[in-house]
Symmetry: C4
Subunit: 290 residues, 4 copies
Amino acid sequence: MSEAKDGTRPPIQPPNADEPDRNARAAWRVRLHEIIFEADTPAGWWFDVGLLVAIVASVVVVMLDSVASIRAEHGRTLLAAEWFFTLLFTVEYILRLLCVRRPASYALSFFGIVDLLSILPTYLSVLIPGAQGMVVIRSLRLLRLFRVLKLTRFVGEARQLRHALAMARTKITVFLSVVVTVVVIAGALMYIVEGDASGFTSIPRSMYWAVVTMTTVGYGDIAPVTPLGQFIAALMMILGYALIVVPTGIVSAEIAEARRGRRSTQHCSHCGLDDHELDAVFCRRCGDRL
Amino acid sequence: MSEAKDGTRPPIQPPNADEPDRNARAAWRVRLHEIIFEADTPAGWWFDVGLLVAIVASVVVVMLDSVASIRAEHGRTLLAAEWFFTLLFTVEYILRLLCVRRPASYALSFFGIVDLLSILPTYLSVLIPGAQGMVVIRSLRLLRLFRVLKLTRFVGEARQLRHALAMARTKITVFLSVVVTVVVIAGALMYIVEGDASGFTSIPRSMYWAVVTMTTVGYGDIAPVTPLGQFIAALMMILGYALIVVPTGIVSAEIAEARRGRRSTQHCSHCGLDDHELDAVFCRRCGDRL
Amino acid sequence: MSEAKDGTRPPIQPPNADEPDRNARAAWRVRLHEIIFEADTPAGWWFDVGLLVAIVASVVVVMLDSVASIRAEHGRTLLAAEWFFTLLFTVEYILRLLCVRRPASYALSFFGIVDLLSILPTYLSVLIPGAQGMVVIRSLRLLRLFRVLKLTRFVGEARQLRHALAMARTKITVFLSVVVTVVVIAGALMYIVEGDASGFTSIPRSMYWAVVTMTTVGYGDIAPVTPLGQFIAALMMILGYALIVVPTGIVSAEIAEARRGRRSTQHCSHCGLDDHELDAVFCRRCGDRL
Amino acid sequence: MSEAKDGTRPPIQPPNADEPDRNARAAWRVRLHEIIFEADTPAGWWFDVGLLVAIVASVVVVMLDSVASIRAEHGRTLLAAEWFFTLLFTVEYILRLLCVRRPASYALSFFGIVDLLSILPTYLSVLIPGAQGMVVIRSLRLLRLFRVLKLTRFVGEARQLRHALAMARTKITVFLSVVVTVVVIAGALMYIVEGDASGFTSIPRSMYWAVVTMTTVGYGDIAPVTPLGQFIAALMMILGYALIVVPTGIVSAEIAEARRGRRSTQHCSHCGLDDHELDAVFCRRCGDRL
């Protein structure tokens, strides 16, 4: 899995095997690569689970640190935990760089950048000290939350979902264009109809309201008060209600299609075509009996 | 139904039938077991319906008791009703223990524990008296609401739904992981962007807001006020809108699949067609008897 | 359409045709019945359209009358319109009674009662006069809104939808039972956790909040303020989000099934079975060629 | 694409080709028509992309102009940009009129009117000057937002979605009738039950609340406060929840149906099977060439 994603190749079977020194180094690198990047050996599996626990724990630390009352009481403990996890992930990052064949391509891959971003902010918080820098540091530190993205690496089935979404992509794009157009027009309309009194102070703000309404979130921080505005809003809601139906139908059909697509595993012995329907008796390309 | 669920076996056909005394006891126990655990005899059916009514009535009593004005006026009546139902369910619990072959395995089964929890709090409220203990007692008494879970025992079709959900479980897990990741990142982002002024006082609280927003509930108790925050919120809403589409499609396809499966498993021995309706006697393609 | 619904039979072909007087009356009754109850003659179609317009207009009059500023200005006009429509519908009601063969069964049918309820309140407002009765009269008059139910009489396709819903009824019942159970438990839980301060003053009120939350309406009039309450609420929202998926999948599959069920119109000339799949060549019951 | 939509025909192959002068003019008109109305030549493609960018930019200018703080600071720049885009779209409009064969039918087509409406308001703002006219001008100028509708012209796939919706139109109409009826009755009911205190001041306003509730938007600007009102509202929410299920199922089935329809229309002349894949050359059942 890691190969395609990280743009790296495991250093298995080095082409010129006549350099004993390099082979020796390759041996532990291969072993390390197996542990860190693969999940099919016991050691690799335990490494992944341990990493997962560490990521979740470090995210929880950042969360707790953001609650004022908890920071006031356990600030020191949280800071220690913060540095513990940062050092742990730094070691992990260096090991990853060491054991892949082409460190540069790993470092520039998506998860390479995420891995780096998840440790940088804590180090930066030392270089940029001072009371006034506090807020900036805190926000930088939050970037470490990107660490959570690593979680998706462990989830294999996500690919199937991505595939189903990709198939319906064009239609969903059309759908989103229509939604954006409706949001712009509805926002402008409500800006004229309602005016400043009820919170529709600008078109962008009215568009924010339109999104809040059409997605049926409905905070109520901005709400129409004039009868005309309420009438337009009611129409928009029913439209938004109708809009949710279309993409649901599209994706349902797409997934059902993909599922129905489960084909016979027979191969035509004559022409080799292997994409037959389940009830096929003859090859649909060459007419040979399957 | 009760056998698998309660981990008990009705004492029908005891292995050594040469003990007349034990057989005599077994007779009324078998009869009682039939009434209490089975629903296919008239007596068993009426017992189930009566129990159902009693459960609903006792839940209504607890509800009414929580309304201050009603408790002030009808407090005594409600307390009497409370004790009436508690004693009724206690008798029922003892009878259940008596008529099953292995009382221990019933007592430790899911509904055994629920049955016990639904009567315990009322008795505990006597042991822990005093004004200051009032609130605790009231909350303990509410545990009796678990009694309502018994309702599911009477609903046979729930199993089908559970099956459909179980089939889609893996995909729904993936989906929930993505949702949790998005909620964590969105929560942290809004905490930085919006700050304390608009209610985003900590990351957990921002995550609560993210869930409220992405599920389109949208209370409005916390809502973004800065243009950037509103822009991010609008993107999140459209994303949440898109997210509802995926699991809907998955479950729809899963249920449609399960339904399509309702076909005969017969094969036509002549032409091999295997997609027959359940009542088919002859192959619809070649006319051969199945 | 009207026959089954109103429980009446048009007086076509009276059994004893030798009474000239009665036959003469039957003639205009048959004609009137055709106009009022059928929609397949030009006169009948125009009657239906006219009635539809009158119903909508009378509903609009009641609506406008409820707006204080409009009633203050156009009160007299609205009262006149009110009486005009009431008299119109009274005439229609009497004509309906006259032209059906069995007036009693029409009067007791669903639409017979609706027709009566839509004219009664206006007459009652004369009998119960006085300033203090005003509010009661106004509310009685609103019952005339049931007139709008007549609209459904003109919509033929509604039957198909009802059929699809009826097929999925059992499963939807199970689903609703689960929802009610979850609502009761969640309501009780939040009542204990949140208490009076944030609006959870009783279990019924907490259950109202649970419904508002799980259906993703989310008014925000009652919202959790404690961290634990917010955590439970967030779980409930995700659960509610998941719950919408199940019935959607069920109904989608049900409708798709009904649609796929579109069968061949062929009849088996041998055994008469007419429910064949589209690609059937032989009758699946008797094996005869179709 | 443009032909059917704009009701115009490109002036290719003029019937009487013996007028050299007119042919000369026709030459650049044909070329211009290709660039402006077609998107399959490089020039035409670049024209479309440039126009798209200009439309989006002009919409953004109108949006920014509506934000008070931005207008205060950059008012002059925005006004200049406004006039730049207006002149640009005016030139485009004139060119469109010049190069189509029948300018009148273009001018009266949907996009002809939209194109005109998107430039008119800016010119009108000069003719209707004065401080008191400001608001009117601003609102007129907003009509230029219809320009955004042009975007849909570039989206080809929208047609497929429209088709799927058109197929389900009758059923969606029935569904909307039921929704409107429920909204009217629920609005009237809540108007009686809740009264003026909680914001249900008139039936139309109660109907607005009913739409806000049933579409699960739930602003909370109007919310029931009496126990009975909350009970009715809870029922309505569950009903609204159920209502979203039906059209979702209908559209899902409709789209799945349309998709399944993507089959070859060929019949096997030997065995008569007609459910072949599009690339099938031989019948999959009997092996005969199609």
